[in-house]
Amino acid sequence: MRNRMLRTASVLIIATVVALSMAVLVAQTPSAKPAPSGKQALPSTTTDPEEAIKAAADAFKKETSLKAYVVPKTPWGDPDLRGVWNTATYTRLQRPEELGNKAFYTEEEAIAEYKKAAESDAEVDPRTVHYDWKEYAMDAWQGGTRPNLRTSLIVSPENGRLPPLVAEAQQRRQAAAAANRQRDPAVGIKTFGNLYTRCVLGLGALPLVRGGMPGADSAAAAAGVTAEAFFFQSPGYLTIVMQSNNDVRIIPTNGSPHVPSQVRTWLGDSRGHWEGNTLVVESTNFNSKEPATNFLGSTDQLTIVERFTRVGPNTMRYEYTVTDPKTWTRPWSVDTTMPRVDPSLIYEFACHEQNYGLINVVTGTQIRERDGTRDLRGFGARGDN
């Protein structure tokens, strides 16, 4: 979280303070009932981050070493994927280059990395924003993520890095960087690419796990709040409802074909089929609405194939392969896990309905552009990088 804040802080300091004071006002409106969170006792395992991390690592090891795990079935006979799964991770999407082809940390290294990431995630500079969880009587680490021995989410290519860009993608990126170096006094929501700030999409509905902090790739979602994916299964369907923005993916598993190619949507068109205990989901038909981009700057030629497999009572293996011939020179793949979250429910996330933040962010950006005070080496006026 800190890295994110540092990158955006220069533009957003004032806006954020205003946004937060508004949030407090809203919370104090008489009709707003207090959230139950304030009354929740913290499980004692989370009071010491180091101990909690070790306990989580042990539990995870025990869970994934279950030899004879029998995947439960739904009443209608499909493997049972139901529940809320945590999509946050501190494992980076891309492996640090200095690690070469080292795919796994030792246990000690993994715990040390995890601890560093968790502490960094929780800490922020209180002069910029009050997002330090510890200010809310929470611990540095209680997000439900688990240590992972992997040095990167990416398992293919072998170096754990995104493959090289194709020429046209390099040109797109150079053009975007060049635009970012220009002052943009015409900045407004019309040219504002950031779908999350605009409440068009939440964080990470597809793919679900994108890589963690710190030192994560620029587009990585934080390991933090609202990283829950609610899996609701019914005959012929898996429906995923994200806590973040309540994005909904309805995935038919009944053999029906993709929608016609002219039907394009933000979340694409997902179709699933079972291969043994694994649900394989192919997503295509993504739209292309400049200045927004698709996942990691990809285009409407993006295809994502996900594989969901229960490997323990509380663990879902989650693999995905990303293909976009207009962006990467070859497909690349991720292999990770998602832990179960209890209880099995999510809350309404009415983002657009009270998107005070957008007003503040765009106002602040306009001021910086007109004043010429935006650091041209940093965050772009368009908010999309």
Partner: protein
């Protein structure tokens, strides 16, 4: 613990969301659409939906839609030219209808009736502020806000019911709004919301859903009918036959009405072999309307409209 974080999110994160996230990368030029493999034209396997689920309950799984004009006005109403005949002509006109209110009239208290009439006058008013006055405006639908219950059930969009024994998920095409109906673990609404908190139970073959915890910003239609945050809605869903449901809802709100009152209408199964919800993410559709007047869509001196 996740209760803690998610409930915390529900109150605070929406308000501060934009300050925290910077995702996505470089800007891409519009991409062509060639290369998309044409989907095979094979029809969906024609499995007739079973009348009952494995646990013997009526099976509501499927894609459903109400017909009619209740979203314009749940009371009986004439055809009207709509708010902008000068630009929209017959496109913007509103068909007449017989209404869905049993007995024909909503039993408003006098003050509430005046509010309803003001609502109608201001129905297209859009106000974007940084405080709760943001909601002293026209119809939430025009700004792509969640529609609440029961309105979501009679908007002119399909919705899909996904049924389990302990939870029922309803996803509405409009805005992708959703609600979970809790069949086993009932609790009071933990926080106010647009779609309310739904506790469900079976009374024989009728699905009865108790909806409370509204935030008080809901309208029932474009005519300005409304309730407040003390509203209590009891829905009754019954299978009429394989492709039709009977729906009724009792609406109680002592702050607004002199007595509880009822709406009822049929709901139809979308029987087309390729019927499905098509993403209707209306946020981008309302940004110019909402943010241009305060200079945040195009800056005022650079308007290219």
């Amino acid at each position: 613990m996740r209760i803690g974080l998610t409930a915390f999110s529900a109150l605070v994160v929406a308000a501060v969301i934009s300050a925290t996230a910077v995702t996505g990368q470089g800007q891409a030029p519009p991409a062509g659409r060639q290369g998309q493999p044409a989907a095979a034209a094979a029809p969906r396997p024609a499995a007739a939906p079973a009348a009952r689920t494995e646990d013997g309950k009526p099976n509501f799984n499927g894609i459903w839609q109400a017909l009619g004009t209740a979203n314009f006005n749940i009371e009986a109403h004439n055809a009207e030219p709509g708010p902008h005949p000068e630009i929209l002509g017959a496109w913007g006109a509103e068909p007449g209808g017989m209404g869905i209110v049993e007995g024909g009239t909503i039993p408003y208290k006098p003050e509430a009736l005046r509010k309803k009439q003001d609502n109608f006058k201001n129905r297209t008013l859009v106000k974007v502020t940084n405080d709760p006055h943001r909601f002293d405006t026209g119809d939430p639908e025009i700004q792509c806000y969640r529609p609440g219950v029961p309105r979501a059930n009679y908007m002119p969009f399909p919705f899909q019911i996904f049924q389990n024994r302990d939870q029922i998920l309803i996803v509405y095409e409009y805005k992708g709004s959703m609600r979970t109906v809790f069949m086993d673990k009932h609790q009071d609404a933990p926080v106010d919301s647009w779609m309310g908190w739904s506790n469900g139970r079976w009374e024989g073959d009728t699905l009865v859903i108790d909806v409370t915890g509204f935030n008080g910003h809901q309208w029932l239609d474009r005519a300005g009918n409304f309730f407040t945050d003390t509203a209590h809605v009891v829905e009754r869903w019954t299978r009429r036959d394989a492709d039709h449901l009977n729906y009724e809802a009792t609406i109680e709100d002592p702050a607004t009405y002199t007595r509880p009152w009822k709406i009822s209408f049929p709901i139809y199964r979308r029987v087309e072999p390729n019927a499905q919800l098509v993403e209707f993410n209306c946020v981008p559709f309302v940004e110019e309307m909402m943010y241009a007047p305060i200079g945040l869509y195009n800056p005022p001196n650079r308007s290219s409209r």
